[in-house]
Symmetry: C2
Subunit: 144 residues, 2 copies
């Protein structure tokens, strides 16, 4: 029922708190965790438009940063006895999360209630709200 979960993270405080719940849910049967980080392509575009840096260099630097953060998450989950799969993707976060949910055929999603981009979320609705609305599987929303 909860064997394989998807854990989308943007490394925000709420995302980190969600990780604590995954660890506790091991007793409820979670064996495998798909850790997903989506590089928001709208943010790459915004940086590109306001800087002299080349597009590929922006992507490379954001990806390197994400890889480092993901490594820490992977080690923490591995240490706790989970099978871990790490994915770094590029796109619109909620769309990619829903696509990966299907692709990986997870049994549930564990997600932080709010990401790093608070002001934008207050206007546009949070990533987690969109995921909850469209997800076919149960979603555990962890607050900050």
């Amino acid at each position: 029922m909860l064997e394989k979960v998807l854990y989308p993270t943007d490394f925000s405080d709420a995302s980190k708190k969600a990780l604590d719940y995954i660890k506790q849910l091991k007793q409820a049967g979670i064996k495998e965790v798909v850790v997903l980080h989506v590089i928001d392509e709208r943010e790459i575009d915004a940086i590109f438009q306001h800087s002299a840096v080349r597009f590929e260099d922006i992507v490379r630097s954001i990806r390197a940063e994400a890889k480092k953060e993901m490594g820490a998450v992977e080690r923490e989950l591995g240490k706790n006895g989970f099978t871990v799969k790490v994915r770094i993707e590029r796109g619109i976060p909620f769309q990619i999360i829903l696509a990966v949910e299907e692709e990986e055929d997870v049994s549930a999603i564990v997600i932080g209630s709010h990401g790093k981009t608070n002001i934008k979320e207050m206007l546009l609705g949070s990533v987690s709200e969109k995921v909850i609305r469209k997800s076919k599987k149960p979603v555990l929303v962890v607050k900050r």
Copy 2:
């Protein structure tokens, strides 16, 4: 972390599915379940305005029906080894759910994604969406 959970139910399919997850989460540490049913006072008003039945009689009949359904939930949870507390309240569902969350000092909420009133929810947003937005605790949203 998940010792005492609040389980709001309107006896819909999604609510019933949420109950299955509570049972599975016993292994993750859930000991006590507060089962809450809110009699929507807007519905009582609507029935009252379109029928010749006395207000108290409408409330009494809705409450009797709810009591029967709640009895079944209580027995099922009890059978599975949970401490169960049953509450039937009257008001606006999402407001009462949030008030009871505070009052009972639960560690999480487990709720169905959609209640019985689908069309109204499509226009106004579901009870679960409002609960997720305002809740201070993690919310597990179970889809139909």
